[in-house]
Structures are given as structure tokens and as C-alpha cells.
């Protein structure tokens, strides 16, 4: 092999060649360490000409800066790959990506939620990446089962899970104290929770601001839906189930929080989190991704716990960020190779990513000491068995807006929960039928 073909041989590149030669031995040793070891196995180094990669995501919260730091570190460690990160609101991001792919303006690497993979794969927006998974020696045992399985569509893998991010219950210790509640023992079941809200109300505190927005109203609803033994769709994914008993109970509980005076009406987007930061409320059911946002607020005395069990069983909504490779109109093999290196690298740094307020997708990382040191993330990771993801069905994204609207209307007291849900279910059923015809 002619060294000149690869350009200047960096130390890293040399390591790669050597490591590749003794791949067989190294393979067994490097599986699933999840540490920041400098392994350079086959498929994980890039020696081609300098490339620029575009990486889009929707990390608009506290997780954005953490990813940005990782990206910068990657860039500094790789002379011939420069990754540029762009962040949009998730809504905008989801709209832009397919349009960008169609016009050949898509980024090379993106992040998608696990519930979006099936649809994106069906539409030809993302590329299969079985080889990347192989290079990372990823197997089902390394992940929580639903997360791993959900990344497969029609027998091909389309996403590499980066993390899981569930809903957790943040509690404001100062506010709980002021109402005479135990700030170190937040409620974990329906009765204790109701008592706490009642006590807070006596002290003129609206204990739980119920937001009507998808973040996090719809997610709260889904958590409760599962807690009350309902589900979004029937088990064969053909009909809506969210308007059944479980759904009505879940949404009614949420609406009652507003009606009973434990929450203001008409909350603005993110106003519940702002209120939590300003010590105006006690409980905030929010995503694990808010850990750093809250940690950065001076004078905020807070903690986080798994969601209380309001229904018949424990459950919490969760989603998962997955790396995806976007389809390019004119594929560039260099850029593709570099993209895989990038995905590999970030995936191995998942402990670092966990610091942004995520639970690493990889089991070994979750069980590592480094992760245990992240107190809040570890607390929420205890919910792993109870985490639920949306059904992985092509076109599931067309159904969720109806649920979001129903939650919005009910929480804003514009419709009764059962009416809002049944209206939504009616439309959802039509969309499901249409999608079955469209996607096959």
C-alpha cells in the first residue's frame, strides 16, 4: 500500500494501521468500554482528504452547549475533519430535514428521535448504518431493548442510539420547605402527591404548573397514559388506543390539577420551567435535559426524582436521540467515511454527553463509576425498566400532533378530556389508514 495515497500519515493514522493489523486481538478487548480510550479500530479512522461535515440537531436546551463542546473537541483532535453544528427548534428541524434531503442540501450527520426513524427510513431520508453498528460492536444486550429494537426498520438499522431522555419530576426544595413538606422525600405515589399539592395550595403556592404544550404537556400525558395501562396505539399499531380508559383517566388527572387550583391556567411555553426557577412552584415534570439548565440557576435549591406513580403502575415517557446519516444526492465516500468516524467518536464519549442531562444508551456506560458520579442522571436511570417509547411505525409523527392538540385543548379547559381525546382519535384513525396505504 502506497502511503502517499493517504496523505500525511498522522500518528493516529499509524495507530489505525497497526491496530487494524491486530484487529482480531483488539476486537475482544475493546468491546463496550464506553470510556474515552483512544481505540482506532477498523472503520473508526479517517485518513482521506480534508472534509467539512454538517451536523444538524435540535439541541436548543441545556444540552446544546455540551454537544457543541464535544464537537469542538472532535474537531481539534481530527485535522482532516471539520464538523459544523447547527441547532434548530425540533419542530423546525423536523420540517427542514426532509426538504433539505430532497434538494440535496442535507447535512451529512443528524440527530433523530427514535420515534422518527421508521418514517424517515420509509421516505428515503436516512441511510442504513449496519456497518457503523458493527464497528462499534453494538448488540442488543448493550442497550435497553426497546431502544435498540426501535432503530430497525425493515430489517435494516437506521439509528445508533446516543442516549435515553425520560421525563423526571424536578422538585424545588425551598418551596417544599416553605409549605412544611419534607424537601428530601418528594412524593412517589398519587396520594402523597395530592397531599403535597394540597399543602402547597394552603400556602398559596401553585404546586404544579400544567403546561398545554407538547413539551412537556403531551409527554406528561403519555407517561400517565402508560401508568393507567393505556397506550398510544393498539398492539398491532393499527388503531388509536389513547382515547380509551387509560387516556381519559390520564388527561382528566392533568385537567383536575388546573381545575383544583394547583396550576395557573394558560401557561406560556416553558413558563412552567421559568416558574420553577423563580421559586414560584414546587414540582416540574420535565425532561432530564433540564438538569444543567436548573443547575445553572443561582440560588435554586432543587432535586429530581423518578415520576410518581399516579396510575396503576410506574411509567415514564422517554425518547432517545439517535445518530443518523442523511441521504445525499451525490454521495461523497470521503464524507461518508468521516461521518462514521464522527458518530463513532461521539458515541464513545457518551459519559461526557450524559453530563448534558442524558442517560447513556449503552448499558456498560450506565453501569460505570463515571456515570454513577452523575447524581441526577443516575437517579432517573433507575426508571429504565419503566421507560416507554412511542410506537416505531412509519408515519407515527402524523398521529402525535392530534394528541398534542387534544392535550392542549383539555389543559386550556377548552374541551372536556374525553371529547378532546375522542376527536383526536377520530382524526388519528384516518391518518393511520392513509399512512398504511402510503407506506405499505
Amino acid at each position: 500500500m502506497r502511503l502517499s495515497t493517504f496523505g500525511p500519515l498522522s500518528r493516529r493514522g499509524l495507530l489505525g494501521l497497526v491496530a487494524g493489523g491486530s484487529a482480531a486481538m483488539a476486537l475482544s478487548a475493546c468491546g463496550g468500554s464506553g470510556e474515552t480510550a483512544d481505540n482506532s479500530h477498523g472503520g473508526t479512522t479517517y485518513n482521506g482528504p480534508k472534509v467539512d461535515l454538517d451536523f444538524w440537531n435540535g439541541f436548543t436546551g441545556g444540552d446544546g452547549p455540551v454537544m457543541l463542546k464535544l464537537v469542538k473537541r472532535f474537531n481539534s483532535e481530527h485535522d482532516n475533519i471539520k464538523v459544523k453544528m447547527t441547532t434548530y427548534k425540533w419542530e423546525t428541524y423536523n420540517e427542514k430535514v426532509p426538504a433539505a434531503v430532497k434538494s440535496g442540501k442535507a447535512p451529512e450527520v443528524g440527530i433523530m428521535h427514535i420515534d422518527e426513524l421508521a418514517t424517515a427510513a420509509a421516505r428515503g431520508v436516512i441511510l442504513p448504518l449496519d456497518d457503523v453498528a458493527d464497528a462499534l460492536h453494538l448488540a442488543k444486550k448493550d442497550f435497553a431493548a426497546p431502544v435498540w429494537d426501535a432503530g430497525v426498520y425493515q430489517k435494516k438499522r437506521y439509528g445508533i442510539p446516543l442516549d435515553m431522555h425520560p421525563l423526571g419530576m424536578y422538585y424545588n426544595k425551598k418551596v417544599l420547605d416553605s409549605a412544611g413538606l419534607d424537601a428530601d422525600k418528594p412524593p412517589s405515589n398519587a396520594d402523597d402527591y395530592a397531599d403535597a399539592l394540597h399543602a402547597l395550595k394552603k400556602h398559596k403556592i401553585k404546586g404544579m404548573w400544567m403546561t398545554p404544550f407538547p413539551f412537556t404537556g403531551s409527554q406528561t400525558f403519555q407517561s400517565l397514559l402508560w401508568q393507567f395501562n393505556g397506550d398510544i396505539l393498539t398492539s398491532d399499531n393499527t388503531r388509536p388506543d389513547f382515547a380509551g380508559d387509560g387516556g381519559v383517566k390520564a388527561l382528566t388527572w392533568m385537567v383536575d390539577v388546573v381545575k383544583d387550583g394547583y396550576s395557573p391556567k394558560n401557561i406560556g411555553q416553558d413558563a412552567d420551567a421559568v416558574a420553577f426557577q423563580n421559586d414560584k412552584t414546587a414540582f416540574n415534570w420535565n425532561g432530564i435535559w433540564n438538569i444543567n439548565t436548573f443547575a445553572g440557576v443561582k440560588g435554586l435549591d432543587w432535586g429530581v426524582a423518578p415520576l410518581p406513580q399516579i396510575g396503576d403502575r410506574k411509567a415514564a415517557w422517554s425518547n432517545s436521540h439517535n445518530f443518523v446519516l442523511l441521504k445525499q444526492l451525490s454521495p461523497d465516500t470521503n464524507k461518508q467515511a468521516a461521518s462514521k468516524v464522527f458518530v463513532n467518536w461521539i458515541s464513545r464519549k457518551s459519559v461526557e454527553w450524559a453530563k448534558s442531562g442524558q442517560i447513556p444508551a449503552r448499558t456498560s456506560v450506565r453501569e460505570s463509576k463515571a456515570f454513577a458520579a452523575l447524581k441526577e442522571q443516575s437517579i432517573l436511570a433507575t426508571q429504565i425498566k419503566d421507560l416507554h417509547f412511542a410506537p416505531s411505525l412509519a408515519g407515527i409523527g402524523d398521529v402525535m400532533p392530534y394528541i398534542e392538540t387534544a392535550v392542549n385543548e383539555a389543559v386550556l379547559l377548552k374541551k372536556k378530556p374525553s371529547d378532546a381525546l375522542s376527536d383526536a382519535a377520530g382524526k388519528a384513525a384516518k391518518v393511520l389508514k392513509e399512512n398504511r396505504e402510503k407506506y405499505g
Binding site: E95, K96, P98, A99, K102, R123, G124, P212, F213, K265, N266, I267, G268, Q269, A271, V274, A275, T405, N408, E409, L412, K414, K427, K430, V431, E434, K438
Partner: protein
């Protein structure tokens, strides 16, 4: 005789050479799209999929069929546009007239004031939208703060509850664009012949009488114009909803343009979106014609 002069010394092709550059652009980006748009609206045109089956008029009839998927969303967005138009047009027609009357006199600084009231208009909707998103923020916005200072409720949810979202959207639009209408009125006022006013004063008519019977009738054509362009502008509202309320609460402030653009350019249901566009355009055409007839009839 003049015509013969014009055509002498000019090549047969000169007019076409002059017209060609513009016509190339016009043909590509105005004429073709209109025709193409009709073509698209007659198909099931999903941009991401290879097949674009013929749909006849079904994209249009679907919009009037309560059982179709698009019916609810489309008419809700039309309703949103309708509410905004009905709410904003009166303010945008009357207040600028008042301001024009204020400015319709000679005094030092008049041009300065005229420029000041017009200035917000040159800021695009992006600047105005971001600015008012902040001002209308229910928790940290200046509007609620000032409201609290003067004894009004200080926690109105301007951004995501009705009717406050509409009030906020209308108020910001009035702030933004009333200077434009005021300038048009000013020009119109200057056009009202002075003799009519003089005649009226000689007849002993008071200020109000003169306004009602001389100024207003003289302004009729300008007013018709202002009403028409304001209705069209309001029906086209996109940026304010997109940036300030994002369609909230629910989808109640999602205007027709927002829905059409989203369905067509992000949802890629281009056939449906094109049909919606034409239906909206037709309705606007009817409204404009009615408007002109009404204003002319009064004379």
C-alpha cells in the same frame, strides 16, 4: 404622425429586445408558476414520492368535504386569517386616517413626525416579530409590566391564549404598518381640491361637517384603495403568527398562509396546498371586487 415617428429608425426587433430580459424572468417566475400551480393542484403531488397521480378536482372538493383530512385544519386556518383580518382592518383604516389628519398641516417638524410614524414599516417582519415576542412575553415582557403599573392585569397570556393572542397580533401589526396607510392618506388628503373646502367654509360649514361632507367623499377612492390593500395584507399574514405565537393556542392563530406553506413545503402535500392557495386567492378576489363595488356605489 407621432406614431410614424416612433417606429422610424427602430429595428423590427427592438421592442422585443427591450422586453426580453423582463419577460424571461416574468415567464419563469410569475406566469409559469401560476399555470404550474393549477397543474399541481390537479394531482396528488407528494414531492418526496415518485408518483403524482391525477386527482382531478378532488383536492378542491376535499376542502369542502367535512370528512376529508384537510377540511378541519384548512378551515381553522382560514378562520384564523378571517379573524385577524376582521380585527385588524378597522384599526388600520381608521387610525392612520386620524394620524394623516393630524399631519395634514404645515408646521415645523411635520416631516420628522411623518417619518417617525412610518419608520417601523421599514423594519421587516423578522425584527418586529422578535421584538414583540419579547414585549408580549407573559412573564418577562414589558407590556405586562406596564399594564401592571397602570393597574391593569399584569399577567395576560398574550402569546398563547385567546383572545389575547389576537389582540397582541393585531396591536403589533397596527404599530408596524399604520404609518404606511397614513402616508397614503396624506397624499390623498393633499389631493382634495381646496376649492371644495373653501366653498364649504363660505357656506358656514363647521370642521366636522367639512370633514364628513368634503374630505371623506374626496378621499373615497384612496380609502377604497387602503381598505383593499389592508385586507390583502392582513389575509397574507404569516410572520407575526410564525414568530410570536407559533400558531398557539393549539393551532388557533395559525393563519392560512402558514398552513398552506407548511403543508406544501414541509409536509410536501403540494397538490392540496396549491388547491388551498387558489381557493384563498379566489376568496380574496371576491372580497376585493365587492369592496370596490361597495365604495363606488355609495357615490
Amino acid at each position: 404622425m407621432a406614431e410614424r415617428n416612433r417606429t422610424r429608425h427602430t429595428g423590427r426587433f427592438t421592442p422585443y429586445l427591450f422586453l426580453a430580459p423582463y419577460l424571461l424572468l416574468f415567464g419563469t417566475f410569475v406566469a409559469a408558476p401560476i399555470v404550474f400551480g393549477v397543474w399541481i393542484s390537479l394531482h396528488e403531488w407528494d414531492y418526496m414520492l415518485p408518483n403524482k397521480p391525477w386527482a382531478g378536482l378532488s383536492n378542491y372538493t376535499d376542502l369542502f368535504d367535512p370528512d376529508s383530512l384537510d377540511f378541519d385544519d384548512f378551515w381553522q386556518s382560514m378562520r384564523a386569517t378571517g379573524i385577524f383580518t376582521v380585527a385588524s382592518v378597522p384599526f388600520l383604516v381608521v387610525i392612520p386616517l386620524g394620524i394623516a389628519l393630524l399631519l395634514h398641516r404645515r408646521f415645523p417638524g411635520r416631516n420628522l413626525f411623518r417619518a417617525l410614524y412610518f419608520a417601523p414599516y421599514v423594519l421587516g417582519v423578522a425584527v418586529v416579530g422578535l421584538l414583540w415576542r419579547y414585549l408580549l412575553d407573559p412573564d418577562v415582557g414589558a407590556v405586562n409590566f406596564v399594564a401592571g403599573l397602570i393597574g391593569l392585569p399584569d399577567h395576560t397570556a398574550w402569546v398563547n391564549s385567546l383572545p389575547w393572542a389576537w389582540i397582541g397580533l393585531v396591536a403589533m401589526t397596527v404599530w408596524w404598518t399604520l404609518g404606511f396607510n397614513a402616508v397614503i392618506y396624506l397624499a390623498g388628503l393633499q389631493d382634495v381640491p381646496a376649492e371644495l373646502h373653501e366653498a364649504a367654509s363660505i357656506d358656514g360649514a363647521g370642521v366636522w361637517h367639512r370633514f364628513w361632507h368634503v374630505t371623506l367623499p374626496g378621499l373615497r377612492p384612496v380609502m377604497a384603495f387602503v381598505v383593499t390593500i389592508t385586507i390583502l395584507a392582513s389575509a397574507n399574514m404569516f410572520g407575526q403568527s410564525y414568530l410570536v405565537t407559533d400558531g398557539s393556542p393549539g393551532k388557533d392563530t395559525r393563519t392560512a398562509i402558514m398552513y398552506i406553506a407548511q403543508e406544501g413545503l414541509r409536509g410536501f402535500k403540494m397538490g392540496n396546498a396549491a388547491a388551498m392557495g387558489f381557493v384563498l386567492a379566489l376568496m380574496l378576489a371576491v372580497v376585493s371586487i365587492l369592496n370596490f363595488r361597495l365604495m363606488r356605489y355609495k357615490e
